[in-house]
């Protein structure tokens, strides 16, 4: 325990431009005054300020490596070292800068570079912080709590339904635009946290993020409300999102489609204290094809774990139910979920936090697309320092 704590503390100390206390005040003269006694010290002290000396840039690295066995497919076993996340942050007074550059190995074995986050935030008060840039979309709990940095996650992968855009995720994990969040304290009733975001929203290609060109005039609106209950670690939230996905033009008539008005609602309940890890989330994705019908997709998952010292065994069932007629965005012939009606994914595993900077995970997964199951065993080492 001591070694782990020391190593984590050392990682803070060893970071470039470490934010250390500026030891600017001289030691007080004569016998030091006890804290309990009203102190009287004549020594001059520096003028206090909200923005102390430059605290330097935070640099953190997160990544993982994995071995997988699958019981189907031509290649059944593989090693992976596909994720490296470079996290930068800098604070000065009420302004906070943050960026996250993610290097990711794709199915083609090419390494792609994504700027996952690039945001500037200004803190007005506990009730209002505004930010601009590219951020994690504030929906549900899991998505923006864990995101990249598998070290912090319990499982080896995100839930399928909230995977990243380029991995077939049904909800936009990133937003480019502006947002505000804040918390209102309610005394014994707990607190209310809100998040409001307006951004570019989805493009015709749902796997892309509109980083530099919106591609449409309509903007995505996302709202999340969360009650942080007086029970320590227990919170409940709801969220809603509205967007218009542009029409898709394609030489193949089967792939062309009109605009789709997309509305999403969701709810989540979370308890993460006293060794208990419980996350339950559910969503309804309502897509209305311009000049056509409406299509509902339901998805949800429950992640349960209990920590025994450094070990946390866990279980996560997840279920997705697509519309019978097929969703117009995600279930086109070339879409990630084409010709699928239901998806049931069940993961069982154990996470071992060997060091604060290193987590080892052993996981068995069974994912069934309708009646075609795929079992796999994954061993992952996730790190961060």
């Amino acid at each position: 325990m001591r070694l782990r704590t020391m190593l984590l503390a050392i990682s803070w100390l060893a970071s470039p431009g470490l934010a250390r206390a500026q030891a600017v005040a001289p030691e007080p003269p004569d016998p030091p005054l006890a804290v309990e006694a009203p102190p009287v010290a004549p020594a001059p002290t520096p003028a206090p300020t909200e923005a102390p000396a430059d605290t330097g840039v935070t640099l953190k690295l997160y990544g993982d490596t994995q071995f997988s066995y699958r019981n189907r497919g031509a290649v059944k076993t593989t090693f992976e070292a596909a994720h490296l996340d470079l996290f930068f942050a800098y604070d000065v007074g009420r302004v906070a800068f943050l960026s996250e550059v993610f290097l990711e190995g794709r199915e083609t074995n090419e390494v792609a570079v994504d700027v996952e986050r690039l945001q500037i935030a200004y803190l007005f008060s506990n009730a209002l912080r505004v930010r601009a840039g590219r951020s994690h979309t504030a929906f549900g709990y899991y998505s923006d709590t864990y995101h990249h940095g598998n070290l912090f996650e319990l499982t080896t992968e995100r839930p399928l339904g909230i995977a990243f855009e380029d991995e077939g995720g049904l909800l936009p994990a990133h937003i480019v635009g502006v947002g505000a969040d804040g918390t209102f304290e309610g005394g014994a009733a707990g607190a209310l946290r809100y998040d409001v975001e307006i951004g570019n929203g989805r493009l015709a290609d749902p796997s892309a993020v509109a980083v530099s060109r919106a591609g449409k005039n309509e903007k995505m609106l996302n709202v999340r409300l969360r009650w942080i209950t007086p029970i320590d670690g227990f919170l409940i939230g709801v969220n809603g999102m509205y967007d218009v996905v542009p029409a898709r033009a394609d030489a193949n008539p089967a792939l062309a489609r009109n605009d789709v008005v997309q509305a999403m609602v969701g709810a989540h309940a979370v308890y993460t204290e006293h060794g208990v890890h419980m996350i339950a989330e559910g969503y309804l994705l309502h897509d209305t094809l311009s000049g056509g019908s409406a299509y509902d997709t339901w998805l949800g998952f429950v992640e349960l774990g209990y920590r025994f010292g450094a070990f946390t065994p866990y279980l996560r069932p997840e279920y997705i139910l697509f519309p019978r007629a097929g969703d117009p965005i995600f279930q086109q012939a070339d879409g990630p979920w084409a010709a699928t009606r239901t998806v049931f994914d069940a993961r069982v595993g154990v996470k071992w936090v060997a060091l604060p900077q290193l987590a080892l995970k052993l996981e068995v997964d069974r994912v069934a697309h309708d009646t075609a199951p795929q079992e796999s065993v994954n061993v992952k080492a996730a790190f961060g320092f």
Partner: protein, 144 residues
Amino acid sequence: MPKRILATTLALYLLSTAAPAGATDDGFFVLCHASNPIAQLAPADLKKALTGGTRQWTNGAVVQVGLPSSETAELRFVADAVGLSAQELLSRVQQQVFKGEMKRPIVVRSSAECAALVRSNVGAFCVAAKGTALTPDVKPIPVR
């Protein structure tokens, strides 16, 4: 079923409100700037301030966490005060910084450094031993 839910909720509430042992009498205090109007911190409020739940004090100063370094008694005290192990506390802080929910803590390597930090930053708070020398612009706050 409703009785079970009620019983579970009640049990969670009692667990969450149980006073962590040793939170107030381990020879340490939280230090903050004298201009900060808070007179004491409940463990739940301390936890919020430590993990990004509170970003600004009531006097408008931006919260700046001063985190004890290494396996110090100060770190154990503050972790114990909020009902976590030292490792859990550091891990949560790391995750909250990664999320962008809180400013990066300033590492204080001693109680004297904690006092110096608080003197120079009106929003800073950290843990110091009771014997630490203080100046009039630094005040101790009990955790209870």
